[in-house]
Symmetry: C2
Subunit: 108 residues, 2 copies
């Protein structure tokens, strides 16, 4: 799960999900794992990168089209809504949908 | 420094920098702080978000144009080269330049 996503040649799409958590787990870890599993089964999913420290969590998922993101959005919102109120987990969050125009990968 | 960036209405640009660190600090913390300070003084800088855990670090910087990113790239590469070989700090990293097409911010 952790590591740098091996994405194809651009262009492709990224969803940057930045968030600040509430205190305590409240089932968050389980939900987060499930979401990644679910996302990776979606058509058009290219990979995911995730990091969290005490200040902030950032999850970037990569997709081959805006349509794939749209399908995932409907699915994930539905799941989140089913599982637990989103306000239980997050103090605040932002979602940014981006077109990746250029990329570079370096291995030392 | 940690927190969700308050960016303007899209479109704007994002640079997603994902990386895996080598062991030990080796002056990394100081350099990273300096880079953020330097970036935030650049024309066209809109904000930065950063998270790191044991698996991965993700830093997303936001810019008002591709030109601003280009200027920062030259500056930051120069600084990094001056300060210390990049292979001292990173096992590997990726850089992705993206156009942010849509965003949403939620505060609970």
């Amino acid at each position: 799960m952790s590591g740098i996503a091996k994405t194809p040649q651009p262009p492709y799409y990224a969803v940057i999900f930045s968030n600040q958590r509430t205190e305590g787990d409240n089932g968050y870890g389980k939900m987060a794992d499930k979401m990644v599993e679910l996302a990776s089964q979606q058509q058009g999913f290219l990979g995911v990168e995730s990091a969290r420290d005490e200040g902030l969590g950032i999850t970037v998922s990569y997709w081959d089209s805006l349509d794939a993101i749209k399908v995932w959005k409907v699915n994930s919102e539905h799941k989140i809504a089913q599982d637990k109120g989103i306000s239980k987990w997050y103090k605040n969050f932002s979602l940014r949908v981006c077109k990746v125009e250029r990329d570079k990968y370096f291995e030392m």
